[in-house]
């Protein structure tokens, strides 16, 4: 359970997120939608402790993110929107580093790294520097790092951009599986088909405000006149 209570964030006086209120229940895949610059990444950065919260609070599984940051950070795994990770490390060194940070046991890391990187098709690249990876490969190594320590909460900022169809399918399956174990998957995206296929709940944000939140059925019901999601999305976010 993640509770986001009335958080705000401004950059140089300009609001990026304003009084945002969300509650993300366990066992759900939660889609976070919005046009470019809506404040998705900013919200996620506040959830993960990268940006300080100007106002409001975020409570993750009962732990306040700003009051007890280390404990909160042990709860989640995060895939950033940019793959600017430590480029001079080798893939394997990066994963080993993450495993050290989250204290994954020797056997566990061996097994998981093999399984994850093989299913993403980057196993053979593990001994190369991340610098030589393609954008999608970097994305995959970060995702593997997150799945490696098996956190309760997954926070993914546009995880599917840059992935090839097969890997995209694999990741989506993994997301479903995680939620079915009663855990949380929170991810941002622009891709409406993904939302339709995958999400249990959605929130649409625009200009730092929540425009809509609810489950898929509610959303479709409330906007019955809209025959497809795309038109609904455009309608919700066009008021500028």
């Amino acid at each position: 359970m993640i509770e986001i209570n009335q958080i705000s964030k401004s950059f140089a006086g300009k609001d990026a997120v304003k009084d945002l209120d969300l509650s993300i229940p366990d066992g759900k895949i939660f889609g976070f939608l919005g046009p470019n610059g809506a404040g998705k990444s900013t919200t996620i950065k506040m959830m993960t402790g990268i940006l300080p919260i100007d106002k409001g609070s975020i409570v993750m599984n009962g732990i306040d993110v700003s009051k007890d940051p280390i404990k909160a950070k042990l709860q989640f795994g995060y895939v950033p929107d940019r793959s600017d990770i430590f480029l001079r490390l080798k893939g394997i060194e990066y994963l080993n580093f993450i495993a050290d940070v989250f204290e994954v046991s020797q056997d566990m890391r061996k097994e998981k790294i093999e399984y994850l990187t093989k299913s993403f098709g980057i196993y053979e690249a593990l001994n190369d520097h991340i610098q030589t990876y393609s954008h999608g490969m970097r994305q995959k190594i970060v995702v593997s790092g997150v799945l490696l320590h098996d956190p309760d909460v997954w926070i993914l900022d546009e995880p599917l951009t840059g992935l090839d169809p097969k890997s995209s399918y694999t990741l989506k399956e993994m997301m479903r599986e995680h939620a079915s174990r009663g855990k949380i998957v929170f991810f941002s995206t622009h891709v409406l088909e993904v939302v339709e296929q995958l999400c249990d709940e959605v929130a649409i944000i625009n200009n730092g405000h929540v425009q809509f939140k609810g489950n898929m059925a509610e959303m479709k019901q409330q906007f019955a006149e809209d025959d497809n999601l795309e038109r609904l999305f455009l309608e919700l976010t066009q008021n500028e």
Binding site: T48, G49, I50, L51, P52, P69, I70, K71, A72, K73, L74, Y78, P80, R82, D84, I85, F86, L87, R88, L89, I92, E93, N96, F97, I98, A99, D100, V101, F102, E103, V104, S105, Q106, R109, K110, I113, E124, A125, L126, N127, D128, H129, Q131, T132
Partner: protein, 546 residues
């Protein structure tokens, strides 16, 4: 050309923007600027004294043009040297090069834009050194208004030719030499070049000092002969010197015009050569390489270790694998001790060899204080410390969402720069114990004091970097170049430790033990104090630098 100007404006804006700096940081820059004023005045004072005494000595013989000649030769030399680094980083290594190449620009337009920032940095140096020197010369030769007019024009034109020539040579090298095929290797080579250069010059000077120079005295009596000798390889320096000494005469004007024409021609040549060769050099550059996959080797690396060890290893790996960090941090830190050793070994009968055995006869206080002073100079410029945060660049944010306490990250970074300090201390120890034959006890005392000093230097450097880190770099060189940051820790430490040394030197203490005990005490108090401020700073700033 219009397009080129626009491109240049954008590039300059991108690199020099203060837009995402907070007001406190701007105030910080202002403070640093103010702090540099006394330092600058000192330099000015020194230049003024030098020019004054040289003028007094050379003017009666009609050889005062030598002063200007020397000045211009020196500046040309500086400009070439500095341009090597800035040109390579701006033209070839910056990450944004690729994004400009894909835009519909002519090569010369991109070059024009890319030259702006390196060129501006030359003007910084130009204003600090050349301009005051020219003014001082004007005062000593009691020149008229015409001199100052020419001086300003020459000041404006001087950096052009050295910069352009360096750039052209580099473009040829990058085009034809094989090194350009691997970016990393090129960077290491370029980084080492500076050091080889420094050692080489030193060796040359030492060899040269032996040979007699009897005809020099003869030249003193012949007008401009000395100038010709000095500017033999730098014709432009000759032209500008004559232009400024023969003010008001046709010769002066002629030389001045020649100089201006040459500068303009140089620019044209630069753009023409660039148009033909620039892209060919850039497009071959690639970063990194891939090896064949060895499963076992990879599996072996999977070992649990403490987070702390893991962090430290990560930092070390990044330093060792990033060519710029390697040359700027590892090579540079080890350079001073190595240089020192080379100096002693080159000179086996010199005053330094076996100097250690005389230490027993000197006053203990003075021995330990001088050795401490040496340490401060050797450790004060540890680039590992003042690049601690900035090295991470755009990947800094990764530390923020991982469940690692801020203090651990900072400590691991401190240990990295301390480790580099430790290596140079070890090297110095080898020199001290085996070449200088310093007594074991004295060495031990010095070593302990140096370790504490190294720790203080690491903390100070890290704090200064932390105060205003540069995370938005596109080429690693930007972490070191064009920031005051290299000088600030050294200036700060020189001041603080200088005062300590001065106080102890003049104090009533005499023996080696009492002095070292007091010194150690002071250092420990300093360590605690700085640690306190560092902790405060981490608390306040760690999550707020993005």
């Amino acid at each position: 050309m219009n397009k080129a100007w626009k491109l240049m404006r954008i590039m300059v804006k991108m690199q020099l923007s203060m837009a995402n700096k907070s007001t406190t940081e701007k105030v910080g820059y202002l403070l640093i600027g103010l702090m540099m004023i006394p330092f600058g005045l000192l330099v000015l004072f020194f230049i003024q004294g030098l020019i004054g005494s040289m003028y007094a000595a050379l003017e009666p013989l009609g050889n005062e043009s030598v002063i200007l000649g020397l000045l211009f030769v020196m500046m040309t030399f500086f400009y070439c040297f500095i341009s090597i680094g800035t040109v390579l980083s701006s033209f070839y290594f910056a990450e944004d090069v690729e994004s400009f190449i894909s835009l519909p620009f002519e090569p010369y337009q991109i070059l024009f834009g890319k030259s702006a920032v390196p060129f501006l940095s030359l003007y910084g140096l130009n204003s600090i050194l050349l301009l005051p020197s020219l003014i001082f010369y004007g005062i000593h030769s009691s020149s008229g208004i015409l001199y100052y007019l020419f001086a300003v024009l020459i000041w404006a034109f001087t950096p052009i030719i050295p910069f352009v020539l360096t750039a052209i040579i580099l473009m040829f090298i990058m085009r034809f030499a094989n090194i350009s095929k691997n970016k990393d290797r090129t960077k290491v080579l370029v980084g080492l070049m500076g050091f080889i250069f420094a050692i080489g010059i030193n060796v040359l000077l030492r060899l040269d000092a032996g040979t007699g120079n009897s005809d020099i005295s003869q030249m003193f009596t012949q007008q401009n002969a000395l100038l010709e000798l000095i500017t033999k390889f730098f014709p432009t320096a000759y032209f500008s010197s004559i232009a400024l000494t023969e003010i008001g005469s046709w010769t002066g004007l002629l030389y001045f015009l020649t100089f201006v024409c040459l500068s303009v021609a140089a620019i044209v040549l630069f753009l023409t050569v660039g148009q033909r060769f620039y892209f060919k050099g850039v497009l071959g550059l690639s970063g990194g390489r891939r090896k064949t996959f060895k499963e076992e080797k990879m599996q072996k690396q999977l070992k649990p270790q403490s987070v702390f060890v893991s962090l430290w290893k990560k930092e070390m790996r990044i330093i060792l694998r990033t060519p710029t960090f390697f040359t700027q941090i590892v090579v540079q830190s080890l350079f001073f001790p190595l240089f020192f050793i080379v100096l002693i070994i080159m000179d086996p009968n010199g005053p330094l060899t076996g100097w250690g055995s005389q230490l027993n006869e000197m006053e203990g206080k003075k021995v330990i204080l001088s050795m401490f002073g040496l340490t401060v100079v050797a450790l004060g410029i540890n680039p590992a410390s003042f690049s601690s945060i900035s090295r991470d660049g755009k990947s800094w944010f990764n530390h923020l969402y991982l469940p690692i306490p801020a203090s651990n990250i900072i400590l691991s970074k401190l240990l990295v720069s301390f480790f580099i300090n430790f290596l140079s201390l070890l090297l110095l120890s080898v020199a001290a114990l085996f070449v200088l034959k310093v007594p074991l006890m004295i060495w031990l005392v010095w070593f302990i004091i140096s370790l504490i000093t190294g720790w203080i230097a690491s903390m100070a450097g890290l704090m200064i970097d932390f105060y205003s880190p540069k995370l938005n770099w596109t080429d690693e060189r930007e972490v070191f170049k064009g920031r005051f940051i290299g000088i600030v820790p050294l200036a700060l430490e020189a001041t603080v430790f200088g005062v300590i040394i001065l106080i102890l030197w003049t104090s009533g203490l005499h023996g080696i033990w009492s002095t070292s005990a007091v010194l150690t005490g002071i250092l420990i108090i300093l360590t605690v104090l700085i640690q306190y401020f560092l902790t405060m700073m981490v608390k306040r700033k760690y999550y707020n630098i993005l």
